[in-house]
């Protein structure tokens, strides 16, 4: 039995401890906001937070997450009004949308470490997240907008 805390809820799962967290979240917990894109840590579609850090859930064994705080897109903000989500709506970032949970989760972790990211900071932090539709210019604008929103909320 593996004990997880996910979006502030405690859950018990009887799965192999090697099972990557992604499949536990999607298939066992039926929370499908976190996506599969490569299964190899190369695309970022499966990004979740583990103790606040952005992690690729497709290559993170569930045993690693045991006892830690996991956050998925569904738990990022209870009203879906995280500053990034607000900015994402304003810039109409998504096209197909499939990569966007991962983009937002990755950007959220970046913003909590870097309140005012430059273009280069954003490129560096986000280059592990692929968007095949090509929403990068809007992601970049939206992240900058979210950083501003966050600063004005905090001040």
């Amino acid at each position: 039995m593996i004990k997880l805390t996910i979006n502030n809820q405690d859950v018990d799962l009887s799965v192999e401890k090697e099972m990557p967290l992604l499949y536990a979240i999607r298939d066992e917990l039926k929370m499908t906001g976190t996506k599969f894109g490569c299964g190899a840590g190369q695309c970022g579609a499966c990004t979740v937070h583990i103790d606040g850090q952005a992690m690729r859930s497709c290559i993170t064994p569930i045993s690693f997450a045991q006892g830690k705080q996991i956050t998925t897109i569904e738990g990022l903000d209870e009203n879906n009004d995280h500053v990034l989500q607000i900015a994402w709506r304003e810039y109409k970032v998504p096209q197909c949308g499939y990569c966007q949970s991962g983009q937002i989760m990755n950007a959220a972790a970046m913003l909590s470490n870097n309140a005012n990211p430059s273009d280069d900071d954003i490129d560096n932090a986000m280059q592990g997240n692929i968007c095949r539709c090509g929403t990068y210019p809007r992601i970049k604008s939206a992240i900058k907008k979210a950083a501003q929103l966050k600063q004005s909320r905090e001040s």
Binding site: D27, C96, C131
Partner: protein, 764 residues
């Protein structure tokens, strides 16, 4: 009881789990259960409207007593925004209030008319029909109001979700009128008046986009997200060589993986390969990970068959050699072959493009349930498909159902996590159906990224050859061009051995230049692998070759590339390439609505050159490149600025200008152009699938890369304000991007890239 209802019943069983999921923050839209599954709307499922008090005015529009208006989008959403654009066109003519409009995804159903979402057709082919559907609903609501007030139709008018009595100012809202309106006979098409452009409220305007909020909240449902009680997940090992077969395998180790339930060999399939499954061995498990793990343990021996000879290295050289010798003419004017070329004024060049994979972010996936037998077999599917009716009919065939029993196959469309042409093929859907029928349980087939990259329907490997002589006034003449590649038609007819006229209509035989001497030729080839429509199709290679060659001519003539384009295009006129003997398909459109208009071409080339300021003075190692192509009914020009230092390319800035006639959803035209620039960057800089002994050599993003954020420069989109009939948007953005990048590289470094991708020559 229909299969559909059964599925509904199944879905509410697991109440505790449902509550649990809601506790996790998923809200009431419990994505996995019940009515929230895509396709379960009264309208879209063809169920009776009564119990919902929803009144259908036609097959696309239903209004409930409160005025809530459901509008069907019968086309499929893959990121292009059609879920918004179709309701936008209908709602505008209806005078519906956008805030009260809800989009309902239509299922596969021939009553919707053409449903294929491919070839950038959804708007360009249906701009009038969709508006007529809206106008018809509007007129029925007006008639219903006129009946209530007992006044002639001319005395009432619909406005913003209500109908107004012009003589006394009284109003009735759409909800109050819906029931009465639904009982009227729809007016005849001739009796409908469509709005004039200045009356549009939504067409061409910014509106709130459907799906946006769900996507951002992680609630949007894609094919991979379908979860049904009792469902098994299948991971399939497919023959690495097209046409290969399973010689032997061992299920025992796979069955030891916890969660694996069954191992099933799929049936063998024959040529032509069509869009049928490739066969192989499936591992079915209660979770995705177990299925994938089990697949690794099958120890399969394959019989490769005849296509094991396919090595792209040698094959590409073969194609290059072919286009360097005389071929089969498809269009001819004057006499190129008799001409004595003046070497000092002649440019001769061969270009090649490798296989390219679609690589949608969401790998192919489909879920199926099959019940019953014989003619009573019923099947329910959830899939992201660009071609629901084709899929439905192939599934019926798979189940042995006659075409009159098509409705036994209920095909629900989910959102697609990207498609780019991949999901117009139904192989993954048929796989799910084949397995679901065998195991008598719901089955979801899930492709890994490796599956997606190694078993695709690739953009064809190709070679283009061009030769022409520059001339003082016209830019150039004595134009000889050839192209060949394995044709997509081979899928359906394995005797097809060259691109046909339809294929050659994609940016090749429709060369619009004012030339006295021209010949366009193709060559025969042998096909060894599945090729298919990838965003922009053959316009990828033809656009690359043409855009590069015009730039090379400009260099030879020592004029700006803009000038060379303008010279070659010549006088403002409508070009008729059919009159020159080429059997041109014009993307299925008539010249009368979608002519080849030189004036629009020239103004786009000027627009992009001016907006991007491509003739500015630049540092030594920087350069601008431009290009242009009319395709899928739209006119697109692109400009790219790059820097090349130490054999490293950095893309600094990109512009795209599009004249697509009426832009129904301008923000989505813009986002498609942004996407096209990034898709074009991927093709140009790094897109390549190779084969060795018939097997694809790449497997995941590390060796089949696509553009990442740090490789994507600032981008600008210029949309021409136009009331011309709409052209396509999804596909035509890509072709001019590719040569704009390689031309820029030439102007920055003197290095001419004639063989894609760039990363074979320079770092990117």
């Amino acid at each position: 009881m229909s299969t559909l209802n059964k599925v509904n019943d199944l879905q509410v069983v697991n109440v505790s789990r449902r509550r649990f999921i809601q506790g996790l923050g998923l809200g009431s839209g419990a994505l996995v259960l019940g009515l929230s599954l895509p396709g379960f709307s009264a309208l879209a499922s063809g169920q009776s409207m009564k119990d919902k008090a929803e009144h259908a005015l036609n097959f696309f529009v239903a209004i409930d007593d409160n005025g809530k208006t459901s509008i069907v989008c019968h086309r499929a959403e893959m990121g292009q925004g059609i879920h918004t654009s179709i309701p936008q066109m209908i709602a505008d003519e209806m005078e519906a209030d956008w805030a009260q409009v809800f989009m309902v995804q239509g299922k596969a159903d021939k009553r919707y008319g053409a449903q294929g979402t491919a070839g950038s057709t959804s708007i360009r082919n249906q701009y009038i029909q969709m508006r007529q559907i809206g106008a018809s609903a509007r007129q029925m609501l007006e008639q219903a109001a006129a009946n209530v007030w007992n006044v002639p139709l001319t005395q009432v008018t619909a406005q913003n979700h209500e109908v107004k009595n012009l003589s006394n100012g009284k109003t009735l809202n759409f909800g109050e009128l819906a029931k009465a309106a639904s009982q009227l006979t729809p007016p005849e098409a001739e009796k409908l008046t469509l709005k004039s452009p200045e009356q549009f409220k939504y067409i061409g305007k910014e509106v709130k986009l459907f799906n946006m909020d769900d996507i951002i909240a992680g609630k949007a449902i894609y094919a991979q997200d379908i979860q049904l009680p009792d469902m098994l997940i299948a991971s399939i090992a497919r023959p690495p060589v097209v046409g290969g077969k399973v010689e032997s395998f061992d299920a025992s180790e796979a069955l030891k993986v916890k969660g694996v339930v069954e191992v099933i060999q799929l049936k063998e399939r024959n040529y032509p390969v069509n869009v049928q499954p490739l066969s192989g061995v499936a591992v079915l498990a209660t979770n995705t990970w177990a299925a994938h793990e089990g697949k690794k343990k099958l120890n399969i021996k394959w019989q490769d068959g005849e296509n094991a000879v396919h090595n792209t290295k040698a094959y590409q050289q073969e194609l290059i050699d072919k286009v360097n010798s005389k071929g089969i003419s498809v269009r001819q004017k004057g006499d190129v072959y008799q001409h004595q070329f003046d070497e000092s004024l002649t440019v001769e060049a061969t270009y090649s493009v490798p296989y390219i994979n679609h690589t949608p972010m969401e790998t192919p996936s489909a879920t199926a349930i099959v019940t019953g037998s014989g003619d009573d077999t019923k099947c329910t599917i959830w899939a992201g498909t660009q071609n629901p009716q084709w899929a439905q009919s192939l599934v019926a065939g798979e189940l042995g159902l006659p075409q009159e029993k098509l409705e036994n196959v209920a095909l629900n469309l989910t959102l697609m996590g990207g498609a780019f042409g991949r999901k117009s093929k139904s192989d993954f859907i048929i796989e799910a159906v084949e397995l679901a029928q065998k195991v008598k349980r719901p089955v979801k087939v899930v492709w890994t990224r490796e599956d997606d990259i190694q078993h695709g329907f690739y953009h064809s490997i190709s070679a283009n050859y061009l030769k022409a002589q520059v001339t003082p006034e016209k830019g150039a003449d004595f134009w000889l061009q050839r192209v060949t590649y394995p044709p997509i038609g081979w899928l359906f007819n394995d005797k097809q051995d060259r691109p046909n006229d339809n294929d050659l209509s994609l940016g090749f035989g429709d060369l619009p230049f004012e030339l006295n001497n021209l010949i366009c030729e193709t060559q025969t080839v042998t096909t060894h692998i599945r090729t298919g429509w990838v965003r922009s199709v053959a316009c990828i290679n033809n656009g690359f070759a043409l855009g590069s060659f015009v730039d090379e001519l400009a260099v030879k003539a020592n004029v700006p590339t803009r000038q060379m384009w303008l010279n070659l295009l010549g006088e403002d006129r409508m070009v008729d390439v059919k009159a020159e003997g080429f059997n041109y398909s014009n993307y299925g459109m008539d010249y009368s609505t979608h002519p080849i208009d030189i004036k629009r071409m020239k103004s786009l080339i000027n627009l992009i050159s001016d907006k991007a300021n491509v003739e500015e003075a630049l540092p030594e190692n920087q350069g601008w490149g431009i290009s242009f192509l009319r395709s899928f009914g739209s006119y697109v020009a692109a400009a790219t600025k790059v820097e090349v230092s130490n054999k490293q390319v950095k893309v600094l800035e990109m512009h795209t200008a599009i004249d697509c006639g009426v832009a129904v959803t301008p923000d989505r035209v813009r986002s498609q152009m942004e996407g096209a620039m990034i898709f074009g960057l991927s093709i140009t800089l790094m897109g390549e699938i190779t084969t060795k002994d018939g097997r694809v050599e790449q497997s995941n993003f590390h060796d089949a890369p696509v553009t990442r954020m740090h490789q994507s420069p600032p981008m600008h989109v210029h949309i021409v304000d136009s009331q011309e009939p709409p052209g396509g948007v999804g596909e035509p953005g890509v072709p001019p991007i590719i040569p704009s990048i390689t031309n820029a590289i030439f102007h920055a470094s003197g290095i001419r890239i004639r063989h894609l991708p760039v990363n074979k020559t320079l770092s990117v």
